[in-house]
Symmetry: C2
Subunit: 340 residues, 2 copies
């Protein structure tokens, strides 16, 4: 028989051809030890010949587990997203789970709709990445029924995997201060979430600890857009050319700042130092490499998936926990020591 997609071929067809019962066929592709090796070989041969692929739909129905988890993100094209999903999948896959991926594009209607789809698909759990409040609100109603893990947002209602945002920002700004910088700008999205709040705290505390006053004019905010960094840096360079260093909320902003700085004819780090956050791939590729706070994206994914799996398997519904993963300052060519 020619190999085909296996669509339409059932366990009955295989059983009939192999001259065994469907129970035996089921046991074969489930690797049950309750089959003699002789029978196993015979059945496997028929399975291969017919190109039989067991229907996960039927399997899910009887096992009452879809072996699928839902993954909700607000923007798939986020550069670090891929690493995190890699981490999530590496864990899930080894346990035979697959991922139903949903990109809400910051759209509430889509989000609600996706969550409904997940419910219908009977996902075994949900991971939400960089959720804003609405996501959690929507999910809160179903919380006690379905394990949920949130990455990079602090909600006490569900398990969270976060990084040490305040410390990361503190370390970055402290590094600049210790390098002699005193006029340090902070370029950040004009948005309200725990990540932004925490990095802001780090920026302020670093100044505080070193006894350096913060100039509010150096904190530039702009609503999220893909080139916000460019605009914020442009504004800053025009209004406050005395600034010697920029701390960007993330690497995308830092890259935007590069553009503005170069366009103005200035050099990095000679004229101005730049520090980013995230350590996306581009940060090491670009020239000069961005000094940045490295986040363990892959690890975040792994940790979230492991946490979720634990909840799913152990039916553990105890109080939500938060896991904090450390960041690390990676120094590259975009910063220099200021000798007065």
């Amino acid at each position: 028989m020619a190999q085909n997609s296996g669509q339409g071929i059932t366990i009955y067809d295989v059983a009939k051809k192999a001259n065994v019962s469907i129970s035996t066929v089921s046991r074969v592709f489930n690797n049950s030890p309750l089959v003699s090796s002789k029978t196993r070989k015979k059945v496997q041969k028929v399975i291969d010949e017919m190109g039989f692929v067991p229907s996960s739909i039927a399997r899910s129905l009887v096992s009452a587990s879809s072996k699928t988890i839902g993954l909700i993100v607000s923007d798939i094209t986020n550069p670090f997203f891929a690493d995190t999903i890699d981490g999530i999948e590496s864990v899930l896959h080894s346990e035979g789970f697959s991922v139903f991926l949903c990109d809400t594009r910051y759209n509430r209607e889509r989000e609600a709709n996706y969550i409904n789809q997940m419910l219908e698909k009977r996902v075994d759990g949900i991971i939400i990445f960089s959720a804003d409040i609405s996501g959690i609100e929507l999910l809160t109603g179903i919380k006690n029924e379905l394990p949920i893990v949130s990455i990079q947002s602090a909600f006490k209602e569900v398990d969270c995997v976060n990084t040490t945002d305040e410390e990361g920002a503190y370390e970055a700004v402290d590094f600049l201060i210790k390098s002699g910088h005193r006029k340090i700008a902070f370029l950040v999205y004009d948005y309200d979430n725990s990540t932004i709040t925490n990095r802001m705290k780090g920026y302020l505390r670093a100044h505080d600890d070193e006894g350096i006053p913060v100039n509010d004019d150096y904190i530039i905010k702009m609503k999220f857009n893909p080139n916000a960094g460019y605009y914020m840096a442009k504004e800053l360079l025009e209004s406050h050319p005395e600034v010697t260093a920029i701390f960007a909320y993330n690497d995308m902003i830092a890259i935007g700042a590069y553009m503005a700085i170069y366009q103005k004819g200035l050099k990095i780090p000679d004229d101005i130092s730049v520090v980013g956050y995230d350590d996306i791939e581009m940060a090491s590729i670009i020239s000069p490499g961005i000094t940045t706070v490295s986040q363990p994206f892959y690890e975040m994914g792994r940790t979230a998936a492991e946490l979720l799996l634990k909840r799913i398997k152990e039916e553990d519904r105890s109080i939500p926990q938060t896991i904090l993963l450390p960041t690390r300052l990676t120094v590259r060519g975009s910063t220099r020591t200021l000798t007065p």
Copy 2:
């Protein structure tokens, strides 16, 4: 009763509570006209009260259709990907289909694994976006069983949705030539697929038609990496400073070129003109805006989804067709007319 996730509640529970048969419950949430409005109201009330969500698993099993299509992409973080998936979903969603999204990250093992998952999940069809050969090879074996549509790659075995790559490149380069440019570089990935081949053809033919000899040194190739544009432009500016215009294979490369040009202290378009391809969001945001070949990404998604749905519904297994979508040159600030 408190609202909950609906997990665990079955059609039987609803039927019992509403004092009707399960057939009636089924009819209610399937919007069948075979229910009196009185009964419908009564049942719907119970459904809402109990928070019942019908299991798509059970529904798929009996309807022999998962109402799901698989979407295979090689890199989720591709900026234009989001628009295309938007287009795909806009069509699919209105027909009640959902999308099982797979990012192969250019990894064959993952790809094979995902395809197997799709087979198990009994997807009703597959859309592959920017596939390389291996994808098609893997799918060819199952082709006659499962509708497949490929976006942005030419394969005669399956339905394709492509854009006029050669014409797009031709138009872009012709525009530069007509603007007085003679020394036009082409920055492109060192990779072999139909898109690259076609844009190269357009670049060459534009020169040909205008009687301008092509200088092979102006064609810079580099293996794919996120900042290839920067490196290629840097190399070009050093070895061939006489070049007056750059035609970039895509906008990401163009943006990389911007960086190299700025870093060198040159101005766009005063010292050098830049043309991109794709018209990603960043192209209009960046300064100066990139003159680029706009691709109808949303339309590509819509078209592919419609084609697939047609195949699925009509059981139409006639010979594969290719749909060509037009591109359009969008002129922005990155190019200027050269007056000799």
